[in-house]
């Protein structure tokens, strides 16, 4: 196991990836972060909480292998071991897909707790991919979290919704309801950041976003063509060759496990004249 100095694998740390707003990159980030953790040798499982609109399986590239799901396990129709899909690229990584047919009410608090308790005995990190919104599914995804990664675009509605989610993390979670418990450790992950537009004054800066949300920064993922390309082929972006986005996620993962990595804001290399002439796959 290759861990950074001073970090030991925590047993069953639950991290929710949430945002409030849809389309900001929760599933992309869940896939990238879980693959990044697994790549570092941590036993990691990523759970899809978006009941009815399952998409983590496609992002992870295991959509053809889903037999049983999270809801089957909660309802006792399948054992957890049978529903977990082992990643074909990393043997430390597993995926727990959700159901496409049930409604979100099938996700009971007791059921979620039971599954998480069982997963904690076998995994170092449990990543919960939240659905958009602040309804039942999103609340279940965050309820038992030890940490939260709040995915935010530098855009007014996304930042506003993130603020809302931070409020819920501080009031509606198990940790919030438990006397003497540390609050959920929330960090913001800024995605689709465009340095060029920031420089032109068309986009809020990292500092602007942090000033408004007042939580620590986990990382800044630049707008990158690599993200769409990776989702096209069903590969988490950190496993799909080097890119600015992959680097940003790797850095964020290192910070998540307690390493200190300098905050660098990469951007897609602008194609030079030669590159434009001779083209290149991206």
């Amino acid at each position: 196991m290759t861990t950074e100095s001073g970090t030991k694998p925590p047993l069953g740390r639950v991290i929710v990836v949430t945002s409030g707003k849809g389309g900001v990159g929760k599933t992309t980030s869940s896939a990238a972060i879980s693959a990044g953790l697994a790549k570092q040798g941590f036993r990691t499982v990523v759970i899809d909480f978006d009941v009815g609109l399952r998409n983590l399986d496609m992002t992870m590239g295991c959509e053809r292998r889903v037999v049983f799901d999270f809801i089957n396990v909660i309802q006792g129709d399948a054992k957890l071991k049978q529903a977990l899909i082992k990643d074909k690229r990393l043997d430390t990584l597993s995926i727990l897909p959700t159901s496409q047919t049930r409604d979100k009410d099938a996700l009971t608090r007791e059921g979620v707790e039971k599954v998480l308790t069982e997963l904690k005995t076998e995994f170092d990190y449990i990543i919960c991919d939240s659905p958009a919104g602040i309804e039942h599914g999103a609340q279940m995804a965050m309820h038992f979290a030890d940490e939260a990664v709040v995915v935010t675009n530098p855009e007014v509605s996304s930042v506003r919704d993130s603020d809302r989610i931070l409020g819920l993390l501080g009031s509606q979670t198990h940790r919030a309801a438990t006397d003497g418990a540390e609050p959920v450790k929330a960090q913001v992950l800024i995605t689709r950041y465009d340095q060029e537009r920031v420089e032109r004054g068309e986009m809020m800066t990292v500092e602007d976003v942090l000033e408004i949300l007042a939580v620590p920064l986990l990382g800044v993922v630049p707008e990158s063509k690599a993200v769409l390309k990776a989702s096209n082929v069903g590969t988490p972006v950190v496993l799909d060759g080097p890119s600015a986005a992959a680097q940003a996620y790797e850095d964020a993962v290192s910070r998540l496990i307690g390493g200190s990595v300098e905050m660098r804001i990469a951007s897609e290399p602008r194609p030079g004249l030669l590159q434009r002439l001779f083209g290149r796959a991206s």
Binding site: E63, F68, K79, K229
Partner: protein, 94 residues
């Protein structure tokens, strides 16, 4: 070569084609099951298989492993049942 590909830039990139293929295969399966996007019969099938085998051999729920691979031409369902007391070399029945 790349100089010429500049001229026919419109053609889908390989990863876009992969995306389209993946979606077509997946959606063909999901639409095929008449409204309900997914076959929900698997848990029931597993229960029935376990019940049928239990008539003759005592096995637990954990001893059954179900695997699926959906393809565009063919899909396969693989069911492994671990039978108790069988010799170690042939412990798995299929």
């Amino acid at each position: 070569m790349s100089l010429f590909s500049f001229a026919r830039r419109k053609r889908p990139t390989p990863s876009a084609q992969t995306a389209k293929d993946r979606l077509q295969i997946l959606l063909a399966h999901e639409r095929g099951t008449g409204g309900s996007p997914e076959a929900d019969y698997l848990p029931m099938l597993q229960r029935d298989i376990v019940a049928a085998i239990r008539k003759h051999v005592p096995i637990g729920d954990e001893d059954v492993e179900v695997r699926m691979e959906r393809g565009d031409q063919m899909s396969s369902l693989e069911i492994n049942i671990e039978l108790p007391g069988a010799p170690p070399s042939g412990a798995k029945g299929r």
